[in-house]
Amino acid sequence: MSKQHITCTINGDATEFLVEPGITLLDALRDELGLTGAKEGCGSGDCGACSVMMDGRLICSCLALGVEAEGRRIETIEGMAVNGELHPLQQKFLEHAALQCGFCTPGLLVAAKALLETNPSPTETETRYWLAGNLCRCTGYDKIIRAVMDAAAELRQERSAA
Amino acid sequence: MAKVVLSVNLSEQFAGGLDSFDVEAANVRQMIRELDKRYPGLGSHIEDKMAVAIDGIIYPHPARQAIAPNSEVVIIPRLPGG
C-alpha cells in the first residue's frame, strides 16, 4: 500500500508527513513524527492514554486515522508547555503528586485542558465525569482531581487579574 | 542451644511430626548441616526453598548468618512481593 502525503498543523507548527491509509493517527504521531507523548494503552478507545485535540475537539487518536489529520489542527501533550514554561495543569500535577508511573499523564493533561477550556469552574463531580475516559491504575484519581481543580482555580484567578 | 522451629508442614514431611528442636550451631550453614544429619533432606530443603527468621528478622538467603546461643530460629517459606 502506498503512503499518502498529509499536511496539517501540529502544536502550532505547519507539519507534513507520509502515512499509509490504514495507520491510526496515534501511530502516525508516534512513528512518523516521533511525538511519543501520546501512548497506546488499549487501541480501542477505552483508556484515553492516546488523547489529543483535533480541531479543538478531544479525541482518542487510536480511533482516528493518520490521513484524517489532513488540513487539521492537532494538539498533543508536547505542545502544552509554551517556551519551556509549564502549563498550570502540568505544574499542579507535579505539586499535587498527581502522577506515579506517568503513563496516563499525557492523556489526562490533554483531557483536563479540554475540560477547563469548556468549563472553567468544574465541580468535583463534573471533573470526575469528564475524566472518566482516562484510566489511571496507580493513583486512585484523588490527587489528579485535586490538581485539576486547583489549576482551574489558578486559571480563573489569572483571567480575572488580566 | 538455639531453638529451631519449623513453621509449615515440613515436620510431617521430614521430621516425623516434630516441629521444634534444640540445635547447637553458630551460623545457619551449621544449623542446616546438623538438621540434615538428624533428618536427611530437611537441611537441603531449607537451603533451597526456605527463608530463615532469626530472632524476628527474616533472611531469605541466610547461609552465613550468625545464630546466638539463645536465638529463636523459625523456618518459613520464601515469599515474593509484587
Binding site: 486512585g140 | 524476628g56 517459606p77
Partner: protein, 756 residues
C-alpha cells in the same frame, strides 16, 4: 483530607518536594518501553494458541518465512530446554524452565493465548499476515478452568508427571495440585467447637489482572558480535538480564539491559514475556526487533492473579477473644505452578494473636494464563475470607468491629502465626486512628452500609546498590539500580539530601542500566525505598566522611576536629576554628585534596517491618440494579516513616482503588472453551474517576529500627483490606453476606433476591 501522626521533624525527609523526574512525565518526554526506536528495526508478533489445552503435533513455518518482508520466524525449538531449573531471584526462586515455556510453548499449549511461534518483519501488518501463514497441527485435549474442576479425581492433567509436593506420605499419582502446605498450631477444630460463637463460610474470587495501562514492550538488538542490548519496561533490569540470559542461552555479560520508564507493574512485570523472543528474532534476522503486546494479549497471555475457593471457620469467646481459625485456601496458578497461595497462608491471619489455628493451602494448575505477582500477592484474597469471618463474629457478638480487632490484634512482643516475634509494629495505633476518625461515626442513609477491614503484608528487604558522586560544583548525582515505579527517585534524592545536608534541588537521581551499577534486586515487595534507600544512606554517610577528610586536609587539622552540619564542614579547633567550607567550596578543591569524591554502596537489607493497614468504606447499594456506589473511603496504615509524604499517600490511594475494583467489578470471564471473553478495558471494568470518591489517608509512623529513617515498605499492604472492607460495607447495606467476588450488579442482584 490526609492526616499524619508523626515523630520529630527532619530537614528534608517528610517534606513534599516535586519529584526530579516529574517534568519529563508531564511533558511527554519520558521514554517508556514502546517509545524507543532503532534504525532498521523490525516488528515482532506472536502466534498464540486458540485452544485452552492441546498437544502441539507439528509447526510448519515455511510459508511464513517465504512472505516478502519477513526476516525471521522462531518456535520453541530455537530455545534451550531448561526442564525444572530454578534461579534464585531476590526474594524467592523462580522456575525458569516454566517461565521459558510460558514465553514460548514446547510440546503443549496450556492456555488459550499461549505463545506458539513468533515472527519479525519490516512492518506490523506483514508480521501479522505472516502469523496466519504458520501451519500448526494441534491435538486438542480436554481442559480445566477453575480450581475445583482441576482438583476433581479424573481431571485432565496439564503436566502429566506432576506429583503434589508437600504431602505425607509422598504423592504417587500425578494430579493438578502442584503443592500443598499447612501452617498450624494447637488444635483449631477443638478450640472452635468449644467456642461461645462460631462462624463459617465458603468464599470464592475470580481472577483479576494487575491492569497496568502500559502493555509489555521491548526493543532488542543482537549484534553480529553476540552483544545484546535490551530496552524494556520492567520491574528490574537485572531480572531482565538474568531471565533473558538463561532463556535465550546467552552469557549475562553479553547482555546490557536498559530500564525504560515503566507504565505500571504492580508485580506483573517482575518477569519477562517478550525479551527472550525479541532477542532470538534479532539474532536470526540480524536486525533490532521491537515487540509490543496489544491490550488483548496483555489480558490473554500475561499473568493475572489467582482465582480462588476458600472456606473459613472461626470461633470466639463471648467477650470477643478469638479462640481458633480454620482456613482452607485453593488458588489457581494458571498453566504452571506458583500461585501466591503460600503467601496468602502466611499473611491471612498474621495480624492476630492466635494459639489455635490450621491453614491448609493448595497450589493448583489450570488451563488459564500463568499467574504473576500482584501487589501483596495472595494476601488480599485470604484476607477477604478472614476479615469477612471476623465481621460475622462482630455481628454475632454484638461487638464494635474495631474493638474486636483491638482485642485480638498483634503488638510488639506478639508471636506471629508464622512464627516470628513482632517488634516496632503499629497495628493498634492504626486501628485506633480509624476508630477515632470522624468517618467512623458519620451518619448513614437508606441502602447505605459501612465496612471495616484490616490487613497485613511482609515488606521485603534484599539487595540494592547505589552510587553517589559529588559534582565539581558541589551538587550530587545519585545512581541506583531499581526502576522507579512510584516516585522512588524523589525519595532517594530526599534521603541523600538529608544526609549530605543539601537542598533537594541540588541532588539528581537516575536509574542505571546493568553495566553501570552493581546488582540490585527487583522493584517490588515494597522494598525500594528501604533497600535502595539504605544503600543511598550508606553511600552518603561515607561521602560525608570523605568530605570531612578533605576539609581536614584543607585546614590542616586532624579529621576528628571537623564537624559536618547543614551541608558544610565546620572547623572545631586551631587557627581556623569556626570556619566553614560548603560542599561547593570543597568540590572545587577535590583535585587538590585527593581526587574525585564518590562512593558505591551495596546492601542486603533485613529486618524490615511489616505493614498493617485498616480501611473504612461506606457504600450505597441500588436495590433495583445491584449497583454499588462507593460513597466514602478512609485508609490508615503504619508506614514507619514517610520519606515523601505525597507518594506514600499515593500508594495508599492506588492500592485502595485496585482493591475496590477487585471487589466490585473486575474479573476474567471465560467461555466454555477457555477463551477470555472480556480482554479489553470496556468489559474488564477497572475503576474510573467517576467511580470513586476522594480517598482519605492516615499515615501512622511507628519507626522500624533497621531501616533508613525508620521507613517501612508501603506499596503493597494498601491492597490487602479493601476487598473485605467493601464486602463488609455491602453486607451492612443489604443485610446479607457476600461470598463471591466481584460484587458486580448481576451477582449482587441475585444475592439480594435469593440470598446467594
Amino acid at each position: 483530607m490526609n492526616v499524619t501522626v508523626t515523630p520529630p521533624k527532619l530537614a528534608v525527609v517528610g517534606t513534599r518536594p516535586i519529584r526530579p523526574d516529574g517534568v519529563d512525565k508531564v511533558t511527554g518526554r519520558a521514554n517508556y518501553g514502546a517509545d524507543y526506536k532503532v534504525a532498521g528495526m523490525l516488528h515482532g508478533k506472536i502466534l498464540r494458541s486458540p485452544h485452552a489445552h492441546a498437544r502441539i503435533v507439528s509447526i510448519d513455518t515455511k510459508r511464513a518465512e517465504a512472505l516478502k518482508g519477513v526476516k525471521a520466524v522462531i518456535t520453541g525449538k530455537d530455545f534451550p530446554l531448561l526442564g525444572d531449573m530454578e534461579l534464585p531471584m531476590g526474594e524467592a526462586a523462580m522456575n525458569v524452565g516454566h517461565i521459558s515455556e510460558n514465553c514460548i510453548a514446547r510440546d503443549k499449549a496450556l492456555y488459550q493465548g499461549h505463545a506458539i511461534a513468533a515472527v519479525a518483519a519490516t512492518t506490523v501488518a506483514i508480521a501479522e499476515e505472516a502469523l496466519e501463514l504458520i501451519d500448526v497441527v494441534y491435538e486438542v485435549l480436554p481442559h480445566v478452568l477453575d480450581v475445583e474442576a482441576a482438583m476433581a479425581p479424573d481431571a485432565p492433567l496439564l503436566h502429566e508427571k506432576m506429583l503434589t509436593k508437600g504431602v505425607t506420605p509422598p504423592a504417587e499419582k500425578p494430579s493438578n495440585v502442584a503443592m500443598f502446605m499447612r501452617l498450624a498450631r494447637g488444635d483449631a477444630a477443638k478450640a472452635i467447637d468449644a467456642s461461645d460463637v462460631i462462624v463459617e463460610g465458603r468464599y470464592d474470587t475470580a481472577a483479576v489482572h494487575q491492569g497496568y495501562i502500559e502493555p509489555h514492550a521491548c526493543v532488542c538488538t543482537y549484534g553480529a558480535d553476540g552483544q545484546v542490548v535490551v530496552w524494556s519496561s520492567s520491574q528490574g533490569q537485572f531480572m531482565v538480564r538474568s531471565l533473558t540470559s538463561v532463556i535465550a542461552g546467552i552469557d549475562q555479560a553479553d547482555i546490557k539491559a536498559i530500564p525504560a520508564e515503566i507504565g505500571g507493574g504492580f508485580g506483573g512485570k517482575t518477569l519477562v514475556y517478550l525479551e527472550p523472543l525479541a532477542t532470538i528474532l534479532s539474532k536470526k534476522s540480524g536486525r533490532a526487533v521491537k515487540m509490543v503486546m496489544s491490550r488483548d494479549e496483555v489480558f490473554r497471555a500475561s499473568g493475572p492473579t489467582s482465582s480462588s475457593v476458600m472456606t473459613v471457620r472461626a470461633g470466639a469467646t463471648k467477650d470477643g477473644k478469638f479462640t481458633g481459625f480454620e482456613l482452607d485456601l485453593r488458588f489457581a496458578a494458571g498453566a504452571y505452578p506458583g500461585s501466591p497461595v503460600f503467601a496468602a497462608l502466611m499473611a491471612g491471619l498474621a495480624h492476630y494473636e492466635l494459639t489455635d489455628f490450621a491453614i491448609d493451602a493448595y497450589d493448583v494448575v489450570t488451563n488459564t494464563p500463568k499467574v504473576a505477582a500482584y501487589r501483596a500477592p495472595g494476601a488480599p484474597i485470604s484476607t477477604f475470607a478472614v476479615e469477612s469471618a471476623i465481621d460475622d463474629l462482630a455481628i454475632k457478638l454484638g461487638m464494635d468491629p474495631i474493638a474486636l480487632r483491638v482485642k485480638n490484634g498483634v503488638k510488639d512482643g506478639s508471636l506471629a502465626t508464622y512464627g516470628v516475634t513482632f517488634s516496632d509494629i503499629g497495628f493498634h495505633e492504626t486501628l485506633e486512628s480509624i476508630r477515632n476518625h470522624e468517618h467512623y461515626s458519620a451518619p448513614l442513609g437508606p441502602n447505605q452500609g459501612r465496612g471495616v477491614a484490616a490487613g497485613y503484608w511482609f515488606n521485603a528487604g534484599g539487595e540494592s546498590s547505589a552510587n553517589i558522586a559529588i559534582n565539581e560544583d558541589g551538587t550530587a548525582t545519585v545512581v541506583s539500580g531499581c526502576p522507579d515505579i512510584g516516585g522512588s527517585r524523589a525519595s532517594m534524592a530526599i534521603m541523600a539530601a538529608e544526609v549530605l545536608g543539601l537542598p533537594i534541588e541540588k541532588v539528581r537521581c537516575t536509574v542505571a542500566d546493568t553495566t553501570a551499577i552493581a546488582y540490585s534486586g527487583l522493584t517490588g515487595g515494597s522494598r525500594v525505598t528501604v533497600s535502595t534507600g539504605a544503600a543511598v544512606v550508606k553511600a552518603a554517610n561515607d561521602i560525608v566522611e570523605q568530605l570531612k577528610g578533605r576539609a581536614a586536609i584543607t585546614w590542616d587539622v586532624p579529621v576528628d576536629q571537623v564537624e559536618w552540619s547543614n551541608g558544610a564542614a565546620i572547623c572545631l579547633s586551631g587557627d581556623q576554628k569556626g570556619e566553614k567550607l560548603s560542599l561547593a567550596d570543597l568540590a572545587y578543591r577535590f583535585g587538590r585534596t585527593g581526587g574525585p569524591v564518590a562512593n558505591q554502596a551495596s546492601v542486603n537489607l533485613h529486618g524490615i517491618g511489616p505493614g498493617f493497614a485498616v480501611h473504612l468504606c461506606d457504600v450505597e447499594v441500588d436495590p433495583e440494579t445491584g449497583g454499588v456506589t462507593v460513597l466514602r473511603y478512609t485508609a490508615a496504615q503504619d508506614v514507619g516513616r514517610a520519606i515523601h509524604a505525597s507518594y506514600v499517600e499515593g500508594q495508599m490511594q492506588g492500592g485502595a482503588a485496585q482493591g475496590i475494583g477487585w471487589a466490585l467489578n473486575e474479573e476474567y470471564i471465560f467461555d466454555t472453551d477457555g477463551k477470555m471473553e472480556n480482554p479489553g478495558f470496556l468489559d474488564y471494568r477497572m475503576p474510573v474517576a467517576s467511580d470513586l470518591p476522594m480517598i482519605d489517608t492516615i499515615m501512622i509512623e511507628v519507626p522500624c529500627r533497621n531501616t533508613p529513617f525508620g521507613a517501612k515498605g508501603v506499596g503493597e499492604v494498601p491492597i490487602v483490606p479493601p476487598l473485605a472492607a467493601v464486602a463488609n460495607a455491602v453486607r451492612a447495606a443489604i443485610g446479607k453476606r457476600p461470598h463471591s467476588l466481584p460484587l458486580s450488579p448481576p451477582r449482587l442482584h441475585a444475592l439480594m433476591a435469593n440470598g446467594h
